[in-house]
């Protein structure tokens, strides 16, 4: 809301079709918001719940919040995809039909709801006195339908994709209106403001004639620029894998995995999950490409490396963000543990703790797996490719980290703790499951790194695959230690 207010207040509003739809959105969505405040009050909601008042509220929110902006977006960006913009005359007619139609349809439903008409009914007794308002709503519905028909006619008459697009018909200032063919922009521009096409008048022609970055492909493959996050200083040239079916394959089986879980087809779901992981591994095989010896010029005299590792690399940041997300998940779990311990003593029912040698043995295995990764990292420093000890250490780390999880599980099971025993049992087993999940992921990543090193794709320079594996490994060890502290040390301190 604040973004809209400031955008409209700072600019000079042009009353074209997209603006109409945006103003319509503000009106309708605000009304839906106001009734939202009404139904948020329990005494009012007690009366309005399951009546047509709610139907009216929902449609004001959804049509205001989703349908009107969608039409606005369509009218605004159509010239970016079509050789002709859509018609202003038809667009405005459609807007008025839709705006009046939606209000005539849904406003009376508020009143009907307050008169007691329940939702989810298709008919009602004649003596209720609801006929006239329902008739009015029906007239509004036909009007809305007519509005959509006008949009469809406009599309049929004017929407012409697959040709050169109409271009910047609004004289807009933002980058999506740069001239582009099938290849996105011809060169990647340097911009200095929020509306670069207004503030840099020659920008469009300079981009089109390739005066900025990457007008060609210096390495001959698919590539893009990686820049610093705040000031966008070019840092290196990222080479991207070419077209592949692995992505489609992974996407399909990922979707099938989750849909399978939803409809409780667990065995097919896990087969699909396994195939999705295979697809991702095939896809990842071609990332982290072999470093080129020479840096390349990206334009304007700037020469950049084609391979970097460490904190400049984009995937290092990807891993850090993944770790942050995992950390938030783990913190929520710790919070649940503390909350249940403190506030729900009646369901907590803490069982006896395993003897201290169980967590100590678990910690020792974690530490040993950490040392394996640390040692492997040291072996990767030399100028020649990694020796066989590198692979051995990476393979050895897998049973160690899985063994740590297994020991922790055994420690709890020897005392007969089961997940369904109590809130305590459920929380402890959730810690175990989360750490077990991380162990499985680490095992896959470690095997993948070893497989890559067998074909000579992991060495002192080409080391991003190993670095990412080690980053997650270090996090998982830290999380494992934190779990041990909260499950074994914390109860001993507070009791």
């Amino acid at each position: 809301m604040f973004a809209w207010i400031v955008t409209i207040a700072r600019g000079r509003l042009q009353m074209r079709t997209p603006t109409y739809f945006i103003l319509g959105l503000l009106f309708i969505f605000t009304l839906g918001g106001l009734t939202g405040v009404m139904v948020a009050m329990a005494p009012f909601d007690w009366q309005a719940h399951d009546t047509h008042f709610i139907v009216a509220h929902l449609h004001y929110v959804l049509i205001g919040g989703m349908v009107f902006p969608m039409f606005a977006a369509f009218y605004y960006w159509a010239p970016n995809a079509s050789s002709r913009p859509l018609s202003e005359r038809l667009g405005k007619s459609a807007f008025w039909l839709l705006f009046i139609g939606v209000n005539v349809t849904f406003f009376p439903l508020h009143i009907l709801g307050l008169m007691g008409m329940p939702r989810r009914v298709y008919t009602y007794p004649a003596e209720m006195g609801w006929e006239n308002l329902n008739l009015l709503a029906t007239v509004g519905a036909y009007m809305t339908g007519l509005g959509v028909l006008v949009v469809l006619v406009d599309l049929a008459l004017n929407f012409r994709p697959f040709k050169e697009d109409a271009g910047n018909v609004w004289n807009a200032g933002t980058l999506e209106w740069l001239p582009s063919g099938d290849y996105q922009t011809r060169s990647i521009p340097i911009i200095t403001s929020r509306e670069p096409l207004w503030d840099q008048p020659r920008l469009a022609s300079d981009v089109e004639s390739g005066r900025y970055f990457l007008p060609g492909a210096p390495t001959g493959g698919r590539e893009t620029l990686v820049t610093s996050p705040i000031e966008a200083t070019p840092q290196y040239l990222l080479r991207i894998p070419g077209p592949s079916f692995a992505t489609v394959f992974s996407a399909f089986f990922t979707a099938a995995f989750f849909i399978g879980l939803t409809i409780q087809l667990y065995v097919p779901a896990f087969i699909c999950g396994f195939l999705a992981i295979c697809g991702v591994l095939v896809w990842m095989w071609d990332t982290d490409p072999e470093p080129l010896n020479q840096p390349v010029e990206i334009g304007r005299g700037i020469v950049l490396p084609t391979y970097v590792s460490g904190p400049t690399n984009h995937s290092w940041w990807g891993m850090i963000i993944l770790i942050l997300v995992a950390g938030v998940l783990f913190t929520c779990l710790v919070f649940s543990y503390l909350y249940l311990w403190l506030v729900r003593p009646e369901t907590w029912a803490r069982a006896p703790l395993p003897d201290l040698y169980w967590p100590l043995a678990t910690a020792a295995l974690y530490l040993a797996s950490f040392c394996c990764l640390w040692g492997a990292g040291r072996l990767l420093r030399g100028p020649s490719g990694p020796r066989w000890t590198f692979k051995i250490l990476l393979l050895l780390a897998i049973p160690l980290v899985i063994g740590a999880g297994f020991l922790e599980l055994q420690g709890q099971r020897t005392l007969g703790l089961a997940p369904a025993d109590s809130a305590y049992g459920a929380t402890v087993y959730t810690f175990l499951s989360l750490n077990g999940f991380f162990s499985a992921v680490l095992a896959i990543m470690s095997l993948f790194t070893v497989a890559k090193s067998f074909v000579g794709r992991v060495n002192a320079v080409q080391r991003v695959t190993f670095d990412n594996t080690r980053l997650l490994w270090n996090y998982a060890i830290a999380q494992g230690f934190a779990s041990l502290a909260i499950v074994h040390i914390f109860p001993r301190i507070v009791s």
Binding site: I230, E231, L338, Y339, L342, V343
Partner: protein, 118 residues
Amino acid sequence: MAAQSLRLSTFLFAGGLFTWAIHFTVLYGFNALACGRRFSEVSLAGVSIVVIATLAITFLAVLLLACIVIIAFAKMNSPAYRAPTIAFLRYVSIGGAGLSFVAIVFSATAGLMLPACL
């Protein structure tokens, strides 16, 4: 120099919001402990321990916010901090600290005025 000023500005930019988050967590945690472990009735010189803790935590948080705002203002005139990105981050730092101040006072007011346990 520029990289250093950028790093400090980024740190300040997040500082206010982090202070808010930590203040909220500590206040919430202390209140929950006081009720769950039944020491909310303890008082020092006639003042409840929950009130004392709330005031102390809030004082520290406001002090931290004041430091953030003072550093952001103090750096305003040095040339390395006049670059548009850094100037923007500085204004966001001050705005974030202001927003956090309102939120911290709001949480503390609830801690001071409402009974610690229901």
